[in-house]
């Protein structure tokens, strides 16, 4: 048996691949649900109802998807350039921390759009700095960025703990370790009244659209793709590899930081060390399911949010542990890898 590259890759197959992967994941996880003594049909039905069954459910799912779109984009832009940014979780927290610090007092008094711009800029800078460190260590010393970005997630989370129990501690929080709140006037307006869904969703979708244009239509987009596909050839063709990767790191870290900012300015209002249910790690799954395409990231984020929000509701209704959502995600990621392989390669016997 040998595996060889297909001469032509059909776009239809590429678009079908994630659906096949998700279906495969749901079938495989049905066995685990059955082990809990619950019919998979009932469980999956409860999940759908929990994610879309009511107005509240839909808004909760989209609220969960909003930061996921941004962390998904963060992973996708980095992976395109073969910069393995696994540090989205840490960058998310740094952005959230910057947003809370700025939004509590520093920008109060500025006109609204300007205040938001300053907060977004600060949060993106905070996320970008956290990724620039491992990116530069790789470019300067050849240190593998997978390990360093992973380790920095722990450092970032401890730093958040240090801040919310220290200088940013909210004295009004009855001893709970949470940061000072952002000023009420700075919170993002709701998209749907009486829900947690906020305009951060619109922002995330717009950012995805802009990134699509940048990747398809600009020199920078072409350079990142070239740097990822074949750095040697790209360098020979005159692509400045170091500068391109540094820019990608700033963009990727910035996007994850922005995700932290909209979560703070949107539904949460302050920072805690448990505010992220793994947005950074789930962003990696989102990016892979999307085959690193910005439009796909939006769709995959809604899917991932559906599974997580739906699993919580399903767990309450049936008693199947909600960790099934994490299993579905992981299996979908691995199945997507295999599906993409067979979309671009064929088996010769």
């Amino acid at each position: 048996m040998r595996i060889e590259r297909r001469e032509e890759v059909s776009v239809a197959v590429l678009i079908l691949a994630p659906f096949g992967a998700v279906l495969g994941a749901l079938v495989l996880c049905a066995g685990l649900i059955a082990m809990a003594g619950v019919s998979p049909w009932v469980a999956y039905g409860e999940m759908l109802r929990g994610a879309f069954g009511s107005r509240l459910a839909v808004t909760e799912t989209l609220t969960r998807a909003s930061p996921l779109i941004l962390t998904g984009l963060a992973a996708a832009v980095a992976f395109r350039a073969r910069l393995w940014n696994i540090g989205g979780e840490g960058q998310f927290y740094m952005g959230a921390l910057a947003a809370a610090a700025l939004g509590h007092s520093a920008v109060v008094g500025l006109p609204l759009p300007a205040a938001w711009a300053v907060i977004a800029g600060g949060a993106m800078a905070a996320g970008a700095v956290l990724l620039l460190i491992p990116a530069l260590l790789r470019l300067r010393f050849g240190v593998d960025e997978v390990v360093t970005t992973l380790l920095l997630n722990f450092v970032a989370l401890l730093f958040v703990g240090l801040m919310v129990e220290g200088v940013l501690k909210d004295p009004m929080a009855f001893g709970w370790p949470q940061s000072v709140p952002v000023a009420a006037g700075l919170r993002l307006p709701d998209l749907v009244p009486r829900s947690r869904l906020h305009v951060g969703l619109v922002l995330a979708v717009v950012v995805a659209g802009i990134l699509w244009l940048v990747q398809a239509r600009t020199v920078f987009g072409a350079e990142t793709r070239a740097a990822g596909l074949n750095p040697g050839a790209a360098a020979f063709a005159g692509v400045p590899i170091t500068a391109t990767l540094a820019k990608v790191a700033i963009l990727s870290g910035g996007l994850a930081g922005l995700a932290g900012a909209i979560e703070v300015l949107g539904p949460v209002g302050y920072v805690t060390t448990t505010m992220s249910p793994g947005f950074g790690y789930a962003g990696i799954v989102v990016a892979m399911l999307a085959a690193l395409h910005p439009a796909g990231v939006v769709a995959a984020s809604v899917f991932v949010a559906t599974v997580f929000v739906g699993a919580d509701a399903m767990s309450r209704a049936t008693g199947v542990p909600s960790f099934i959502a994490d299993v579905i995600m992981a299996v979908a990621l691995l199945a997507m890898l295999v599906a993409l392989l067979f979309a671009t390669y064929r088996v010769r016997t």
Binding site: I3, V143, L151, F154, V327, L334, L341
Partner: protein, 313 residues
């Protein structure tokens, strides 16, 4: 300064160093075997988590402590088999597959734990391994208390270092494994099957990783809780680079790391006014610094992360 010296002079510190180093020794040896055969195994963090859960659960369900370790090894090998299938015959990205395995193994561990174990206010506990004093040697002053009154899996870890070093450097199979990590084409030319060697290496390595996880729940602690592995797997991946892919240096790296960890734990209780988070950050920052220090002169296995396809260059 005298405080630091006092801490270093206590036998209990050195006893703790070996105990803290044990899961790292298992993990770093496992990662090392995978990588010497040419496969990066980022599944380590999840495999350690799964090993911790499965090993604990076996004992909780009435199994022997050693049976618990054995079942953990089997669970780790199963995950290793999956990673090997995806990355060796299929040649998928070792980075992404490894992360996927970590997500899968830890999610499975949490799911099954929640499914099978009633958790009240506190997680249920088991009777863990007890320190075993080696007759004679344990009565040596200082050294006896520090080295020869450890829990049995710690002795196993130390023996494993010697075994792995001997296997890699002194046996034909070890030579074939190392060659697969350097030049799989040459292995094929010798009439050996590089795919089969890589698959077995990843499975064996993953079994050792799971053993490191199981040590946490059957010896270091007596219960399982989520996120208990706390990045130890990633630290092992960094330690392999620090050790230049050599078992002896890997042991040294794990011990140095554990010394630092045990030291900072004791320092925390003596030094006042420094937030505890800064102490907890230190191991991760230290790992990154170690990577930077050795990165320039690291001798990476030539074919690490290169999928091998027959007849393709």
């Amino acid at each position: 300064m005298t405080v630091a010296l006092d801490i270093l002079m206590t036998a209990s510190l050195w006893e703790a160093v070996l105990r803290i180093a044990t899961p790292l020794i298992f993990g770093v040896l496992g990662a090392l075997i995978c990588e010497r055969a040419g496969v990066l195994n980022l599944g380590i963090e999840g495999i350690m988590t799964l090993g911790a859960m499965v090993g604990w659960l076996t004992v909780y369900w009435g199994g022997d402590l050693w049976t618990g370790l054995a079942v953990a090894v089997l669970a780790g090998m199963a995950m290793g088999w999956l990673h090997a299938m995806l990355t060796v015959p299929l040649g998928l990205s070792q980075h992404v597959s490894g992360l996927g395995i970590t997500l899968l193994a830890s999610a499975l561990a949490y799911y099954l734990y929640r499914l099978w174990v009633e958790v009240g206010d506190l997680p249920p506990t088991i009777a863990p391994f007890q320190p075993l004093a080696i007759p004679g040697l344990s009565s040596i002053p200082f050294l006896g208390e520090a080295v020869f009154t450890q829990m049995p899996p710690t002795y196993l870890a130390l023996i494993l270092v010697v075994l792995v070093a001997w296997f890699l450097n002194r046996t034909p199979a070890g030579l074939a494994l190392r060659m697969t990590g350097e030049n799989p084409h040459a292995v094929e030319a010798q009439g050996l099957n590089p795919h089969r060697i890589r698959i077995w290496a990843v499975m064996a390595g993953s079994g050792m990783m799971a053993l490191g996880g199981a040590f946490l729940t059957t010896a270091a602690f007596n219960s399982f809780f989520p996120t208990m592995v706390q990045g130890r797997g990633w630290i092992c991946i960094a330690l392999v680079v620090f050790a230049s892919w050599r078992p002896g240096k890997a042991l040294l790296g794990a011990l140095l790391f554990a010394l630092f960890d045990a030291f900072q734990l004791r320092l925390q209780t003596v030094v006042e006014g420094v937030p505890y988070q800064l102490f907890l950050m230190a191991p991760y920052v230290l790992s990154i610094l170690a990577l930077v220090l050795v990165a320039r002169r690291a001798r990476v296995p030539e074919a690490l992360m290169q999928p091998y396809r027959r007849g393709e260059r």
